[in-house]
């Protein structure tokens, strides 16, 4: 196993390059022989497209699974989760159990969502049931809050479809400018009166069997303007969208902390103000959602960061490696460092025959989120995970009785 890892990347980020250099790995160009290629999603798409038909050798690894977009495209994420639930239901899996209202007890973690324009009629039907509801429109293939807007009247959808017909009609018909529309969660947990979401990092090393790690040092991303459900502020994105890419343009954006608050702060705050039990339950539910959504795409794959808002809203394949603050830079450097330690133990040339279970000490700030192989060898399976999480997902005395589902309502 002698020899230095040959690396290449098309993302010029210091947190990456410093990490490679620290390991004294050898930089090469993408046309040379390489062992480790940290690529952008555009690159991975071309490299592994049917035309190129590139196949990885035993000594090569990349930072994405080829089908990462199964989770990262908003429409496909929804489709995969819906399909996963159907499949479980067909198998008669206890995970797919429903309550008396026909809602999944354990798998109801995405807000009601439709594809537009294709599901337009279904959406209208749903909207009419509850005409005072607010909905959020998101272009399927974009990120960083781009192209997102809120609506609370059907006429706004009609206007949108008229406008998009004239402007991006071609794109729309070819499916590129397709949107998803989701029920807007209008009672999020607020801290200091502001909305936030969670940026949590998950590393998936194999999908079959599923093995994933959760990074302990995630953070909350805060809006810069106080939250109000009032419809008069529906078009103020500084109130509603937590993306840093949006917030940093706000007048009140603070460049020192960048609106980022560590998950350990969140835990301390929640435990102090709401108690330990509720807090542990919440985090269990978050982990549960992550594992389930990865299970849902186990046929494809991601290396990802995920964005949760108690309810899963989206998953990204290439989390921003741009560092907005000094702490951010340290966090991201360490994140990459710990990631590399897991995927290339001892900094050696990758070998597909490696055992995929690094010892606990080698995990850094990662912790095992789910290990299917181990779960199976212990004669446990998803059902036990459920009953484990199920305990905390708990039928017993959750506030508001809504407790079995990881819903925001249980916080209000």
């Amino acid at each position: 196993m002698a020899g230095k890892v040959k690396w290449v990347t098309d993302i010029e980020k210091s947190v990456l390059i410093n990490n490679f250099e620290k390991r004294e790995w050898v930089p090469v160009s993408e046309n040379e022989d390489w062992n480790f290629y940290w690529m952008s999603i555009q690159t991975i798409r071309t490299v592994f497209s049917v035309d190129t038909g590139y196949r990885l050798s035993d000594e090569q690894i990349v930072n994405h699974f080829p089908n990462h977009y199964e989770l990262t495209r908003k429409d496909l994420m929804i489709k995969n989760i819906k399909r996963y639930r159907k499949d479980l239901e067909k198998e008669g899996s206890p995970l797919a159990e429903k309550d008396e209202n026909g809602k999944y007890i354990y798998l109801d973690f995405v807000p009601v969502t439709f594809m537009l324009p294709s599901d337009y009629n279904l959406f209208v039907e749903e909207f009419r049931k509850n005409p005072s509801s607010t909905w959020i429109m998101k272009p399927c293939g974009k990120a960083q809050g781009k192209g997102i807007f809120l609506i609370n009247k059907l006429s706004q959808i009609k206007k949108w479809s008229r406008d998009s017909r004239t402007s991006t009609f071609v794109a729309a018909s070819s499916g590129k400018e397709a949107y998803v529309i989701s029920l807007y969660i209008d009672n999020p947990l607020l801290i200091g009166g502001k909305k936030f979401d969670l940026r949590l990092y998950v590393l998936v090393t194999t999908y079959r069997p599923l093995k994933c790690y959760m990074y302990k040092l995630g953070f909350c991303r805060f809006c810069t303007v106080k939250y109000t459900p009032s419809t008069s502020e529906l078009d103020n994105m500084f109130v509603h969208l937590t993306n840093v890419a949006i917030q940093k343009h706000g007048d009140d954006y603070n460049h020192v902390h960048g609106g980022k608050w560590t998950v350990s702060n969140l835990r301390l705050y929640l435990e102090s103000t709401r108690g330990k039990e509720v807090t542990s339950r919440l985090f269990d539910q978050i982990h549960w959602i992550m594992v389930q959504s990865l299970k849902a795409v186990a046929v494809s794959g991601v290396h990802s960061k995920t964005t949760f808002q108690n309810i899963l809203t989206n998953v990204n394949a290439s989390p921003s490696l741009t560092s907005s603050t000094a702490n951010d830079r340290i966090l991201k450097y360490n994140l990459i460092n710990d990631t590399l330690n897991i995927v290339t133990p001892n900094g050696e040339i990758p070998d597909c025959r490696w055992s995929r279970s690094p010892p606990r000490e080698a995990l850094g700030n990662y912790q095992v989120l789910y290990d299917e192989e181990q779960a199976q060898s212990e004669h446990t399976d998803l059902r036990d995970l459920r009953s484990r999480s199920g305990q905390s997902l708990g039928s017993k005395g959750t506030k508001g009785g809504a407790g079995v589902r990881p819903v925001t309502a249980s916080w209000k």
């Binding site: 801290i191 200091g192 009166g193 502001k194 805060f222 303007v225 106080k226 009140d252 603070n254 020192v256 902390h257 609106g259 980022k260 608050w261 560590t262 350990s264 702060n265 301390l268 705050y269 435990e271 102090s272 103000t273 108690g275 330990k276 039990e277 807090t279 702490n327």
Partner: protein, 496 residues
């Protein structure tokens, strides 16, 4: 002021009774007694016995006990002494404190004349309405604060403390005794490590002989809360409160029960803020902007800080408390305290525990009256400084000598930590564990001990530095420290 213990005790009791008489609790108890089914009959004595039993059954005994306990916890007051002497027992300190306060006030006045901003003014109606509307988002306001500078910063305070001397004590006389190398040149009694061990020994025994299982400990704490037992809560706090129960335990120790009248009181203060504009508001505003707003831990609580601090500056109950201490707030226009730069850091950590402004407020006010004010009071802060220096000099003489030689007096580095009880320096979880002990032992001593422990912990690196700047760099980041292990190692593993 020579009094035998008996007289003093009875004075104290009389004082407590006087204070309780005027309290809300007293009128509540009175009302409760009136609704009891008993009426005074022939035997007045039996009637009283019945009333007492009735009140005990109705749970009033505990409340009364907690109220008395709170009075006992408050800084000692000697009602017999003339008001001037109540404040500071040592005449020269009293004088120094008064002249420092005069100086701060003068500087505030000069800000007022310089900028043409009155110390206080009534807000016009329109402005009142505007402030009411944005009460929950004062942080978005961007008044021009460039003109305002903090009236004083911890280091200004340190300078005057350093210059403090006891006129009756000539330090040049005792060259024979090992002289004090530190900045504080006042002969006061402070405890050394063996004595400190005595104080903290209970804690150690607990650790060695009777390690609580976490579950048992949490259970006991919950029990104490359900029984509303203030004194027991304080005992448990010495072990470090369980995160999920800390808010309740602290409120219990501080006897902040968040009764409707507390909420009302807070609302009155809020109304005061809306009606009057004070010059100090600008200082508070600026302080929050310069500290908490940029802080990784506390920025999310910015708006709570304005609310609490603005109300605080108008709170006359705080003023009341000052009758017994040497810090004298200027009365007519400012009710409370002139904030030094960093003052908001006393409130910030509490935001992790209480998300209801009125509760947050009452806990803060109580913490201030019991503890934080001592940081601004000569005898309090001087004792801490001296304690810190003595500990270092006695147990780490080489380090102290080295730092002194390179012009990096340890106190110059540690003062800012201590004066804020480390808030804004330690990570919040660790800070709360430290404050658990402040409450638990009802003493700030632990702050000085921790400051010394930090130096001990970094001693090796500090021995290598050659300037104040590089010493400061070694000690710049305290956010990774674990408070209790540091203190334990320092107290129980340091050998002379």
């Amino acid at each position: 002021m020579l009094m035998d213990e008996g007289t003093e005790l009875s004075l104290t009791i009389a004082h407590i009774v006087r204070r309780l008489r005027g309290s809300h609790l007293h009128s509540q108890i009175e009302r409760q007694a009136k609704v009891s089914p008993f009426r005074p009959g022939l035997f007045l004595y039996i009637f009283f016995m019945r009333i007492i039993i009735f009140l005990c059954l109705a749970g009033w005994e505990r409340k009364l006990q907690n109220a008395v306990y709170r009075e006992l916890q408050l800084p000692p007051s000697h009602p017999a002494a003339p008001p001037e002497h109540l404040k500071e027992p040592l005449a020269y300190m009293r004088k120094a404190q008064a002249s420092w306060e005069k100086r701060v006030l003068k500087s505030l006045n000069s800000v007022s004349t310089e900028l043409g901003v009155p110390l206080a003014r009534m807000r016009p109606v329109a402005e009142q309405k505007e402030l009411t509307d944005k009460w929950n988002e004062m942080g978005t306001d961007e008044p021009d604060l460039n003109r305002f500078r903090p009236v004083y910063a911890p280091k200004d305070f340190l300078e005057v403390l350093i210059s403090l001397r006891n006129p009756n004590h000539d330090s040049s006389e005792d060259v024979s005794v090992r002289s004090h190398w530190g900045l504080i040149q006042i002969p006061l009694d402070v405890r050394d490590i063996p004595q400190l061990k005595q104080v903290f020994i209970g804690y150690l025994y607990q650790l060695i002989f009777c390690p609580w299982s976490d579950a048992v400990f949490v259970f006991c704490c919950a029990l104490v809360i359900s029984e509303q037992d203030s004194a027991a809560a304080q005992q448990y706090s010495r072990q470090g409160c369980p995160t999920g129960l800390r808010a309740d335990l602290w409120a219990l120790i501080l006897n902040c029960t968040n009764q409707p009248q507390d909420v009302m009181y807070y609302e009155q203060l809020t109304a005061g803020v809306i009606q009057h504009d004070l010059l100090v508001d600008n200082l508070i505003y600026k302080d929050v902007k310069l500290t908490a707003s940029n802080d990784d831990y506390y920025f999310v609580f910015e708006d709570f800080l304005y609310q609490v601090l603005l109300c605080f500056s108008r709170d006359t109950a705080v003023l009341d408390h000052f009758k017994y201490n040497s810090a004298t707030p200027p009365k007519s226009y400012i009710q409370g305290v002139i904030p030094f730069h960093g003052f908001s850091m006393y409130v910030a950590p509490l935001c992790f525990l209480y998300n209801e402004p009125s509760k947050l407020y009452s806990v803060f006010r109580e913490m201030y009256i019991r503890y934080f004010f001592r940081f601004l009071k000569y005898s309090g802060i001087v004792t801490l400084c001296l304690q810190f220096e003595r500990l270092l000099q006695t147990y780490l003489p080489q380090l102290f000598y080295h730092l002194r030689q390179i012009g990096a007096q340890p106190l110059r580095i540690a003062f800012k930590w201590m004066v804020r009880a480390f808030s804004g320096y330690l990570s919040t979880d660790q800070l709360l564990l430290l404050w658990d002990r402040i409450l638990g032992y009802d003493s700030l001593e632990i702050v000085a001990v921790l400051a010394a422990a930090v130096f001990a912990f970094r001693a090796e690196n500090l021995m290598e530095v050659t300037s104040l700047v590089s010493a400061e760099a070694v000690l710049a980041d305290l956010s990774t420290l674990k408070v209790m292990p540091l203190i334990q190692i320092f107290l129980f593993a340091t050998t002379v």
